[in-house]
């Protein structure tokens, strides 16, 4: 699917050509004035936080259709004993299962605002047992489910898959390519993702572009635009390059080290690409060191805690051991909160931002129940921790409606049990969180379950082995979130031969482009 025309609608003043050294972004005096006039507070600040579940989240065990018929097909595919009982046999103790325990599921109800599931006979759904806080947010109207979403070029039915010329996303089920596909609509090697492209179109609202797009501990392609570059922050802290003004007792060495580190060998392409990162780091080093609040401060940290590892706010309970442990997702979200708190500082001045955090370990080919249960517990704790601290940011600010978080992943996983795990899939269910979410509802058609015969399902949404054929596209999620971020319609959809940030959205009927989950 990599043939869409190069986007060319963003021919804005590209002062970033000078490697973002000083980044006086808004050259337009009028917009500078506008930015400084509303210099602080919660007015006109919006941020997206992508929580990437790396490895392919098992969506079938994240959101479950809990009506009798659906549960029957789910459980007989995932639990050998359910299959044995269904066939009139006697359960065999000790057979590994990949099915959740039904009595532990957390029921949720849906309003079906969009009528996506209007003709379903039963609209009984539930969440993974570890998602208690997310269930509470859902019930409070602050979290929503996006059902069966994945990359699509155009609306696709099962019958279309037999047409070898039908346009499909490339390299389906390949981890690295589908991570890239979710983030940038192209397989590995692509260089601009929809988070960064949104910021390309919004960055005139920010004082500098450098802090428009921020990755915590990594800088995946989602964060890169054609002009905006991701800035990476680490949970293990900031430091000044080569010391505090003197290196090996010499100020001249300190200065020379920084000059050499940021100066490419003349004519060397590789050197230029390395030093552009060094230049970016040095250009905002002082700004960050003076503006970024510390980790052990309220509300995101516990004053007096010795380190992140001992901060009770960052600890979750591992459901397999019952032990309290550092939640790496919460630690990354803590850095997001600190950066949001610094958004009005001199040299930052951010009105729109995108952030990306990553929770890894979702490639559950084996030990699915224990591994995935632990990951769901981390997700649940991290999301609730972040939502809570946004309510009490410094200066008494409540930013819960200013920040929208959402999950994304390589792909959903197959339904069928491979022993004690599940294999790669395509579509999956996702969450969106925040005060601006029209929560307590499910958006998009949830897959129908159906009889399984000779390895194939009769369901319109279940392919071989219970891989989900997406009924909602990533483009629709992008369009919906982009609208909330105030990205223009033309930037999102493109025009003529120019593709938009959601490059396939024009293949979808105008009435369904906006999934409707944002207020």
């Amino acid at each position: 699917m990599s043939t869409h025309p190069r986007r060319s609608f963003l021919k804005q003043a590209s002062v970033l050509g000078a490697a973002g050294l000083t980044t006086p972004w808004a050259l337009n005096l009028a917009s500078m004035g506008a930015a400084s006039a509303q210099s602080s507070g919660t007015t006109d600040y919006k941020a997206l936080v992508c929580i990437f579940l790396a490895g392919g989240n098992d969506a079938h065990n994240t959101v479950v259709a809990n009506d009798e018929a659906s549960w029957y097909y789910y459980s007989t595919a995932r639990d050998p004993n359910a299959a044995i009982v269904a066939n009139g046999g006697t359960p065999v103790p000790g057979l590994p299962s990949t099915a959740l325990t039904r009595s532990q599921l957390l029921p949720i109800t849906i309003k079906d605002t969009g009528g996506w599931n209007a003709d379903r006979n039963f609209k009984v759904f539930a969440l993974h047992p570890q998602l208690k806080r997310i269930r509470d947010m859902y019930n409070a109207g602050k979290a929503a489910v996006i059902a069966n979403v994945g990359p699509l070029i155009t609306p696709t039915n099962k019958i279309d898959l037999y047409d070898l010329t039908f346009p499909l996303p490339s390299s389906l089920m390949s981890h690295n390519d589908q991570q890239s596909m979710w983030q940038s609509f192209a397989p590995e090697g692509s260089v601009a993702g929809w988070g960064g492209l949104m910021m390309d179109s919004l960055m005139s609202r920010n004082t500098v572009s450098t802090f428009s797009s921020i990755g915590i501990n990594s800088g995946p392609v989602w964060l890169s635009g054609k002009q905006v570059m991701p800035y990476q922050l680490s949970t293990s802290g900031l430091s000044r390059m080569a010391g505090e003004g003197s290196t090996f007792g010499s100020a001249a060495v300190f200065q020379t080290v920084r000059k050499i580190a940021s100066t490419p060998h003349a004519g060397d392409t590789l050197a230029q690409d390395y030093t552009s990162t060094v230049q970016r780091a040095l250009s905002v080093e002082s700004t960050l060191l003076s503006s970024l609040p510390g980790a052990m401060q309220a509300p995101w940290g516990t004053p007096g805690a010795a380190s992140a590892a001992t901060d009770p706010l960052l600890k979750y309970t591992d459901p397999n051991t019952g032990q309290s442990a550092l939640n790496p997702l919460a630690q990354q979200l803590q850095m997001v909160a600190r950066m949001i708190a610094a958004r009005d500082a001199t040299g930052i001045g951010a009105k729109r931002q995108v952030f990306m955090v990553t929770l890894g370990g979702f490639d559950t080919h084996d030990t699915l129940l224990s591994t995935h249960g632990d990951l769901m517990a981390k997700l649940d704790h991290g999301v609730a921790y972040f939502y809570d601290i946004l309510s009490k940011m410094p200066g008494g600010q409540d930013l819960r409606s200013n920040v929208t978080s959402f999950t994304a992943s390589d792909f959903g996983r197959a339904l069928n049990n491979n022993g004690d795990g599940t294999d790669h899939g395509w579509g999956g269910h996702h969450f969106v969180f925040g005060g601006s979410v029209k929560g307590g509802d499910m958006y998009g058609r949830f897959p129908d379950f159906s009889p399984f015969d000779q390895g194939n399902y009769f369901s319109a949404h279940l392919m071989t082995n219970g891989v989900l054929l997406p009924s909602q596209s990533v483009d629709q999620v992008v369009y919906t979130l982009g609208k909330w971020m105030d990205v223009s319609e033309s930037s999102l959809t493109g025009a003529g031969s120019t593709a938009g940030i959601a490059p396939n959205i024009r293949n979808f009927n105008a009435s369904v482009r906006n999934l409707g989950f944002m207020a």
């Binding site: 990599s2 970033l16 490895g55 995932r78 050998p80 299959a83 044995i84 066939n87 010329t165 390299s171 089920m173 981890h175 690295n176 590995e188 090697g189 260089v191 601009a192 960064g196 501990n217 890169s224 002009q227 991701p230 800035y231 922050l233 680490s234 802290g237 430091s239 080569a242 010391g243 290196t247 090996f248 100020a251 001249a252 060495v253 020379t256 080290v257 000059k259 050499i260 580190a261 060998h265 003349a266 004519g267 060397d268 392409t269 590789l270 050197a271 690409d273 390395y274 990162t277 970016r280 780091a281 080093e285 084996d366 491979n418 022993g419 795990g421 294999d423 399984f452 390895g455 071989t464």
Partner: protein, 580 residues
Amino acid sequence: MIGRWLACVGLCTLILSGSGCVVGEDSPDIPNTRSEAWRFLNHATFGPTEADVARVKSIGYNAWLEEQFAMPSDTTARAFLEQRDAELKVDQPANPSRFEQIVEGFYTRALIDPAQLRQRVVFALSEILVVSLNHPELNARPALVAGYIDTLNANAFTDFRTLLEAVTKSPAMGIYLSFRANQKEDDSIGRIPDENYAREVMQLFTIGLHQLNLDGTPVMGANGQPKPSYTSADVQGLAKIFTGWSFYRGPAYASQLEWDCFQGKSNCIDPEGAYRPMVSYANYHSTSATSFLNVTVPARSGASAEADLKIALDTLANHKNAAPFFSKQLIQRLVTSNPSPAYVARVAQKFVDTKGNLKAVIKAILLDDEALGTPYHALSTDGKVREPVLRLTALLRAFNFEGPGLAGSGGRVKNTGISLTGDASQSFGQLPWNSPSVFNFFRPGYVPPQSKSAALGMVLPELQIASEISVTGYVNAVVSLLSNGIGKVGNQAGVRLVLTQHRPLAQVPSDLVDEVNNRLLGGIMSPPLQKDITAALATIPVPTPNSNGSNTADINAALDRRINAAILMTAVSTEFLIQK
């Protein structure tokens, strides 16, 4: 040979202003210059030492390679781990050996094992055929990773098919890609075979996603897109082959239930199983008809797991993609991120001609015209970003270093004590044998956004782990290396650079720069960089000796500051960071 080389030097001297060394072209096996030997050793080792440079200049590339091919590792990963385990039981009975001891073993061999080519190729293979200690089961049983390292060590100079089988049967790989204890399908309970290894052995280890020409470029389909090399049906078909394999178990475990041994239950974990190839368990192996990659295996009876595996691995190793797919990645790991299609084709042709003989492939890679000669930064697209692990090893090996564990005294294993180098903000930002996933620390096809490389259609894999955080972290990690050493043995730094021999040169900044230039850059430092470093060094004053020598300590301290500063300023330059 030496005589001819000397003659060549003489001739070159005479015709220096002419077109080059005519005799050198007749004798390409001997490096014409120190810089050429140094460049070759950057590709073939963990960093050139003075002794290596002299050796290559003396015996030539081919003889050096043959010498290295014949050289065994000075210790196995298993022996290192077991000895460290025994030592820790004495030193810290409460703290058993852990994954750090695998990393200690890695750095120790990288830094001091004379079998440098073998170790360097094993590291390259470990970034293609990835297993990682970040998998909980491997983290808990590092012996499995030691076994895997020894498997790569033993097979680095065999042939691709043999290597592929050894990797496939390795219990560490079986665990990492979840096909150990993978069972045949069972329709009655809705169970399908685990597809993990079937997919990744094709995508990452043998043939890749797209059909390839011999030169590594993709075969394009009618729709203008690369043609896929396999389908989901191929993955499902191949997954059936990788069923019914689990840990080796010795005679002592013969009476245990086969099911328990297959599952690896605690009553049937033979410790030897961490080091021996997995074995087949016929009852759990699929024997129904299957097909993959245009090969059909009919339904069969009896114990067929070994025979089935042979069909699968023969199919993969003989696939026309295998030669360019593997060759290009090995070139990228050793020499350059963007080899020309012709370079890939030359190496892949050698792969085909020799049935994947790895010595022949390695030779073809290291002795290609694109790999030999003087390293020129001005040839702007050559080379690769040095990954952090290789920066650290090259920095240490370029100079003398010492450490309390390096003598192996008291019956202890030689140990650098370097283990935790993963933190990007405080250390080098890469922890060997701890890749985040089977996709390695960085991808061979990574393109940095908004880069010069992207504009030129190039990839820069190693730049995927460079960030605003890591570029600062690296500079500070080198400061710390120079100031404090690195690693830990007992209560001391595991390794420290020994630089006192350079003090006389440090009296004159330009002399010191020449020395550091020779050791870290092979003598090709650009004039602007020499000028910057020399000027900065001159600002560090060195006291004039007193008549009674009472200020010797002050003088030495100043000279040491100059030496440290000279190494630091060179190590942070792109002339070091980019390996040409």
